[in-house]
Symmetry: D3
């Protein structure tokens, strides 16, 4: 029955090899575009391009927030290029805090793996939606809205947020205000915070201007 099927092999698959773009592993040395990076030549692609091991180890959380964010965006994991997905790892020590932040370019789905995490976001209508999440529970944060995660109780916590873009972005509110070159008079005018407070925080976080 299959004696001559080898003819088929040449007929169909010879063309399909050249024409199909199933994936577009990023060539990070090429210039980015609005749709992502140019593709690595398919012939050079290996299984390793689709695998990322950089989130396997816990990050050091011996810092003021008792927490760390480790990204697996397209810049770290080029196989995500064009696939509208990415991930990160959140390590939180006891009472660790991921401060208020937004992802300008993606929705987020948080998967809690260890500990208890109080997570929440603030809507455009100024309503806070928040919940304490346990192991195996999920919470979704719509794109561009301020949100936070806090380890509750005395245990450390672990979560993997995933994103609807290979390049979700990350704007941390305190850094935008106090670790940037946003001048103190402008911060004051656009937030109504006290100039002395702004200067103090900029001193700590390294802001200028």
């Amino acid at each position: 029955m299959f004696i001559h099927i080898v003819f088929l092999l040449f007929l169909l698959s010879s063309t399909s090899h050249a024409t199909v773009q199933d994936f577009c592993v990023a060539d990070l040395k090429g210039a980015d575009t609005p749709a992502g990076y140019p593709c690595k030549p398919p012939a050079n692609v290996t299984s390793d391009d689709f695998v990322y091991t950089g989130l396997a180890e816990a990050a050091n959380v011996t810092n003021i927030i008792n927490a760390a964010v480790t990204p697996a965006f397209v810049a770290q994991f080029p196989g995500l290029n064009g696939l509208e997905l990415s991930a990160a790892r959140l390590d939180l020590g006891p009472s660790g805090v991921i401060p208020l932040h937004t992802h300008p370019g993606a929705n987020e789905l948080l998967i809690v793996l260890q500990g208890h995490i109080l997570a929440g976001f603030i809507s455009s209508g100024n309503i806070v939606y928040q919940k304490v999440l346990k192991k195996g529970e999920l919470m979704v944060f719509p794109q561009g809205l301020l949100h936070f995660q806090i380890a509750v109780g005395k245990r450390k916590a672990l979560a993997f947020p995933v994103f609807s873009s290979a390049n979700p972005g990350l704007q941390i509110l305190d850094f935008a205000l106090f670790a940037s070159n946003f001048s103190t008079p402008l911060v004051t005018q656009t937030t109504f915070l006290d100039p002395d407070l702004v200067k103090k925080l900029k001193g700590v976080l390294g802001g200028s201007g």
Copy 2:
């Protein structure tokens, strides 16, 4: 030459009337969907559905920020439904300020029409891009990033921002923090602001929790 062309009229256009959706004016009484509102029946659509006059008049700016934002989003201007565009009107008195805010769902292009406006945004990399804009000048603010506008000098100012969505959203930082039900301990934990300051601002702006 055109004697029998009337036949064509029936042949072609009789079908095209029923089948074409050039536009989808929102029926705001219908349930919204992720792609927008259901369409008003085409037979009920008139020229007025594509026109909006609600931005023609200057808004009252006798308030603490000497400024006002008047939106022409899909909820005000149903003809925008599904068209990936909307607008607003910014009125700024002398030294008027539009405080730090984001549009979670759209990029913004600001068209300055009167006065001098200092406008800027903060990138994910914590760099401020800002410029004083004069009449007829444009500035673009990428989606989801914190930005602001301030009237400079002693003159009032006017600008029309336009957006890449019929429903761009608007999250005002001070309102998210201090006019919401975001509890003082959580604001403090996720921003490092002083609890006394947070309570004071919540008192003024009406926040609870």
Copy 3:
């Protein structure tokens, strides 16, 4: 400084409440559309709409494949509607297998949480990309391509796949061929499998035709 800012509150936020669609929690009783379900009225939305607890417990894997898939798609987790994200839980007993399958509507990013999982996909060019993944490692599977996961070693395994759509779909190859109403002659003609084998598998899996 903030004495009169309450004016601002009314000026800006009164309009923003009505106009902003930050999210569109599915009303599953409404008719689906190509972009997702109609939105639940925002006034009825609570924090619980953004949280899903149905993946917290391990599924029963006492079946022939020693494995189970538990979905958290929009039908289970309505808060995902329109957000281009979803998740599932893979429980694998020792040597458990998730048979060859595709997701017609989404890319997949697999996060391995326990055990060792051999995962792989087959490209249009008939190349298999596969790898043994350990705890905390990620692998991405481009949309629509056949892929599989197998627990290797004598330990059970756990993974959370996430998807670039709230409704990724799931076509399991064996079910499509042998648990459907796909007639034996047609299966045979379109796969070159032996009719006796097809009949036997249909008997086991419940296929008809």
Copy 4:
């Protein structure tokens, strides 16, 4: 080997039945949305929903243009809803002409099946790209640009254009100008055509105003 696989059947496929939206056959009685019509309940969908026979017969071309266009858009073929594809049938008698027209909502790929067709489009840069196409040849027309098809020689011709939308739209230039309620003074002002000519063509094609 497959003795207990029936367990798997219940485990996996019971959930997948309810959750998967592979398609969204239009319920044309429901209100349209920017993304298409609401879906017919999946349980009522049959094979016939995915098939359209309305292009099988040649249309009558005994009219002034010796030609006819028969659409298979979503309004005729509800199975196309949400699938970003549609088709039409062009019948051209000898020297038949499909007059200048645009599809505001889709790119077009023309497949010539019989006869010789001179087809072309005009770019924004005012360059005409045109070619005589024979049986089995294809030509692509980018979205929104004026284009035409003419049967050349003494033979009739047949072609199937396909579109990158289920609802591509069709604006025929002569009808827009002379079969609409576009007033003669406005046609004249916006096209520089002579008022007498405009009135004459409106008389023939049925325009008003």
Copy 5:
């Protein structure tokens, strides 16, 4: 409280600098792609990249249509690349006319800033939707449909149209027909206009063929 927060600075923001693409200012020397131009290296981007001053001055309208269109598309304003927005400036002298035209790649929202403008579009169903717009009023024109703007009364007029694409395109009907290389016999066949008229208009507008 913030003594050690400097640790956080290194922990989080060192990675975020490299990985985030908030914007993609066009490198116009690079090859365009279907999604836009490649990005200028982020380190070379300055505030000026997000600002465009080329629409600030009125254009000369001493021409036959008493009008001028000045574009701020991605080719003029590279900061718009990938942001799905652009703008233009319409200057109209008394009775100035922007002739019938389409934007093949974008919806348009017109903002009238001075004078009275009669604006309208023709639907696929051959219905004209038109209105006289005053200062501060908006009108929306769906993608790909013929539309026009005319200054009414004895005053000059000014408007800023904005578009839902950084590259909306512009096909002016008279130019497509009479300023292109579209041959007179083909214009005649596909529009039913008189050959003598076509030749005359081509003579004036510079068409060939």
Copy 6:
């Protein structure tokens, strides 16, 4: 009336030439991106770039399946780049079969031109939707689902499938399983097919591993 209109020509069209991207003919020597290939310089584009003649001739079907697929995807027809459309030609001898396959990246609309074709697809819910199609009839296959075409009766058949992407992909089930480097133990584990059968088919189709 048109004496001075030549002024207009310079005013408007001089800018529009440079700025408009109506199309993006692929430069196949450039690196692909997630949105397609870089564009050939517009000045080098000719009518031939929009035309493809490679589907005009019947393919040889003297092979085991009595059938052949000839693609006109972007790799063969660069003018399709970015236009979300492509096509192919199916030649089927008497009883010819296009075996079960998927297009991971596109929906398909099949246009039958000759003979009788039994076509069908299998949904995620394991339901087969199938029909015998005659000349001029259409059937649509949603993205990523297994489907097939078979010439019924003693006549040969011809069809043109079209796709909602310039790069739809093609995964043929038998090739994925038996013509790839998918190892026999893994095929067996993930499909429940018998190892002897798998080895036999791999021998015929050239699979390894």
